[in-house]
Amino acid sequence: MSLFSYAKPRALGEALRLLKNGTIAIAGGTDLVGLIRSGLAKPDGLVDLTGIEGLRGWTREKGKGLRIGALTPLSDLETSPQLRKLAPMIAESLRDAATPQLRNMGTVGGNLLQRNRCWYFRDEAVPCWLKGGTRCFAVEGENRYHAILGAAECVMVAPSDLAPALIAYDAEIEIASSIGRRTVKLGQFYITPSGRQRKEHAIKAGELITSVRIADSALERRGAFLKAMDRKAWSFALVSVAASAKIQGGKAHDVRIVLGGVAPCPWWVPAANKQLEGSVLDDNACLAAADAILADAQPLRDNGYKVTLARELIRRALRSLVA
């Protein structure tokens, strides 16, 4: 493990100034400490963000929507009865995310920025494409947990449970750097690693996610989050589905279906969402939408089961919106 120095600033501006070449921001450290130990991250210095005032906790103001500070521990969102009422998909997505200990340590910003779990990527000795090598070893190797949709040079999958739920709420993230601020839709933030883009998301050096925002109108959506795992606890998603819609008179409007664990990014298909406009979400309509989402699936040797699993999870999630 490389040696590093450590700083714990008290204000965001200081943190942004300290984030220079060779330094990395740390909050809960649940992903980063492992990456450092296995040599996948080699910081000269760590900037601990957890001393920054004001980026922890969530607020709801009419007209301004829901705003969640990036340093909020995941467990605070999972266990808040008020937030569960306000945005149930968030608590549902965190309920089976990792473990109580990891949810106590891990933060919203860190969850959204976590690196993927591909075992070839995580193995320091394997020079995979994402790490600058020439090939993706999972394509012809052990690929039970890898992508069935949307992959280019790298077949890793988006690991976050929270991200699909937030995208189904059409959430935005606020990003700060020493030169200013920008706001992006979380759905536009993730990148399919391809060509020169050997990374999973669009954060730039020196930038920090400071908050997540969900508009008032999105909070009126009904939502469902389902996650399939190899075992009942402490496992990354084989497939996860976040589905949301505005339900009026038993009919669904503006449907959003977002999948985790199937593609390098949280995955959705606009045409499949559109074909459910005005639907009563009966089994046939739900399965037709699932088939539209999965039409382009290209399973690898060991992950064809994900197609079947995703199809049924999509059906169940959509059905529960009108149950």
């Binding site: 040696l3 200081e14 450290g29 649940t30 492992g34 521990p73 109580p100 601020r181």
Partner: protein, 178 residues
């Protein structure tokens, strides 16, 4: 808490906190109610601090990767994996380990319940299991069995004592609310 409690980008100040390390730095914190200090490199974990300089070997080192839960301790009342928590990040925090549970020679009710219900075999995961359950009982006086199971989902027991671990936890909860 108003929305304005999340600040706009604050003006950079000139008195930036210096980076400390990579050589050993002074760390002071509270461990089991008492002040403790140590001199460690920033890459050292809270687990290394506890088991090394502080000599508190009740907290176990197993996977050293946040994958098993044997190293579970409480930091500011919340269970965390001490093996992937940086010691330097615990500056000024309140850490509780298995050694801090018994009072005046009396075992903690959760420890008693583990004995009564034979809730361990090899015993290596036990300190972590106990700390997770102690934390649950502080926040939830009357947990359901599902609460109890969920509280220890982050603590692996490869002997497979789970059924008795949950029984012990539920028994301690009943004892505490009587």
């Amino acid at each position: 808490m108003g929305a304005d409690s999340i600040p706009r980008c604050s003006i950079p100040s000139n008195d930036m906190p210096p980076f400390r390390g990579p050589d050993a730095v002074d760390i002071s914190l509270t461990v089991n109610g008492q002040g403790a200090t140590a001199h460690l490199r920033p890459q050292r974990s809270l687990l290394e601090l506890l088991r090394g300089p502080l000599g508190l070997t009740g907290t176990k080192l197993v996977c050293n990767a946040g994958n098993c839960g044997a190293c579970t301790v409480l930091v500011d009342d919340r269970p965390v994996y001490s093996c992937i928590t940086l010691a330097v990040a615990c500056e000024g925090k309140r850490v509780e380990t298995i050694e801090g549970l018994s009072k005046d020679g009396e075992l903690h009710p959760v420890q008693e319940a583990f004995i009564d219900h034979d809730a361990y075999q090899c015993g290596f995961c036990t300190p972590g299991q106990v700390m997770s359950i102690v934390a649950l009982l502080r926040t939830k006086g009357k947990p359901t069995e599902d609460d109890m199971r969920r509280a220890v989902t982050g603590n692996l027991c490869r002997c497979g004592a789970y059924v008795n671990i949950v029984k012990a936890g539920m028994s301690a909860a009943r004892r505490a609310t009587k």
